[in-house]
């Protein structure tokens, strides 16, 4: 309408719309709770539409039509990357509010990752499998293991870069500046942690990245985990996850354990956790087309 041609010609479009209206939620739900395309009656038009959709999905590199579940969450970082990449720097979408930073101000837009994106045409984000294994720490320190299932990355996609993003919340109850320093260490777990019955056994890890931070600000921290992800994907090495350790410098105050958001926290519930939980982002290239070069603004069409 409105002088624009649509993707499907008139009769097919009407048929698709009618089929969508006839969709009944209970039998149409997939195992993940997502919507399922209703099975239309067989016929030449439907065969044509099915073939049409199949060819389009193949063009997009998908084997079947995605049926996202209601639990699927689109991280704000991915939305920001899309906006930055497409040159669409408009204000935030009111339908998808971003979590507030301390003080009520919205978090600053992340810097566009020019270097990782310059060699990639695909960015994927992963949440961990909630196998939050508390690792044996030193008593003063807190360590967590995150296992990200990267098996959905296609074999023909070469990962050139990967980052682990952790959110840390501002802590106000620190009387002295010197007491607010933390060191965040990110390791690759080389061997899985031994079972508790095995007794005390040192965890074998490899340090990937580290950073000294002060807990006077809320922000995301990005850690380079490219070597580990390259080993898991290209090198076919077993993926035992990443370990994150928050080391509190001596004489840190009682607020030290709340700074880095590595787990759900009660009683806040799951609302902000969906957007603030750790995020693994991979930058890869499937050998087709050019990289994600950032566009510097685009005139509105």
């Amino acid at each position: 309408g409105g002088g624009h041609a649509s993707l499907i010609p008139g009769p097919g479009k009407k048929r698709t719309a009618a089929a969508a209206e006839e969709e009944t939620p209970p039998p149409g739900r997939g195992p993940g709770g997502g919507r399922r395309t209703p099975s239309p009656p067989p016929g030449p038009a439907q065969d044509l539409l099915r073939g049409f959709e199949a060819s389009l999905l193949h063009m997009f590199g998908l084997r079947r039509r995605p049926q996202p579940s209601k639990a699927a969450v689109v991280p704000a970082y991915m939305r920001d990357l899309y906006r930055l990449q497409s040159g669409d720097d408009d204000d935030d979408d009111p339908r998808h509010p971003r979590p507030d930073e301390a003080g009520g101000r919205p978090p600053a837009r992340p810097d566009y990752p020019d270097r990782p994106a310059s060699r990639a045409n695909t960015v994927r984000s992963f949440h961990h499998e909630e196998h939050l294994d508390s690792l044996p720490g030193t008593g003063e320190n807190v360590a967590f293991r995150f296992v990200f299932n990267l098996s959905t990355i296609p074999e023909d996609e070469v990962i050139s870069s990967a980052e682990l993003r952790l959110y840390r919340e501002r802590v106000d109850q620190s009387p002295e500046w010197e007491q607010g320093f933390h060191r965040i260490n990110v390791y690759e777990v080389v061997r899985p942690p031994p079972p508790p019955s095995a007794g005390p056994c040192p965890l074998i890890t490899r340090l990937l990245d580290t950073r000294l931070v002060h807990h006077n600000v809320s922000r995301w921290e990005s850690f380079d985990v490219s070597p580990a992800v390259a080993r898991w994907t290209r090198g076919r090495r077993p993926n035992h996850g990443l370990a994150v350790e928050a080391t509190h410098l001596p004489r840190a105050g009682p607020a030290r354990a709340r700074h880095v958001r590595v787990s759900r926290s009660l009683p806040h519930g799951d609302g902000d956790w969906a957007q603030l939980r750790p995020l693994l982002v991979t930058f890869g290239h499937d050998g087709r087309g050019h990289a994600l070069t950032r566009r510097a603004g685009r005139p509105k069409r």
Binding site: F60, R65, P66, A71, R79, R124, T152
Partner: protein
């Protein structure tokens, strides 16, 4: 012929301008909600893909962005209609980025090549 006097400039009725009929780019908005794909494509909701349509008449004007072969083919068509005219096709395309949820509920941002017609020509 050099022995003939030069012919006067064309004074006949002006040729009707075929504005809009020659090869050019036309609007074509692809709306993902029209095919029910807006449940897994997060952004954009749709995009201007454009398409090429129009005539490639003899002689091919410069703005029709033709190739030497298209000029020859059009020339041959002018004397032998069994040879088709050159076709109005995209000569320059650009990419778009799409943010979507894949089959495994993972969020993907991907750059797709040659999705938008930037220029049309007779080829």
């Amino acid at each position: 012929s050099p022995k003939r006097p030069p012919s006067p400039p064309h004074r006949g009725p002006p040729r009707p301008r075929k504005k809009g009929k020659s090869c050019r780019r036309h609007a074509l908005y692809v709306d993902f909600s029209d095919v029910g794909w807006n449940d897994w494509i997060v952004a954009p909701p749709g995009y201007q893909a454009f398409y090429c349509h129009g005539d490639c008449p003899f002689p091919l004007a410069d703005h029709l962005n033709s190739t030497n072969h298209a000029i020859v083919q059009t020339l041959v068509n002018s004397v032998n209609a069994s040879i088709p005219r050159a076709c109005c096709v995209p000569t320059e395309l650009s990419a778009i980025s799409m943010l979507y949820l894949d089959e495994y509920d993972k969020v993907v941002l991907k750059n797709y090549q040659e999705m938008v017609v930037e220029g049309c020509g007779c080829r």
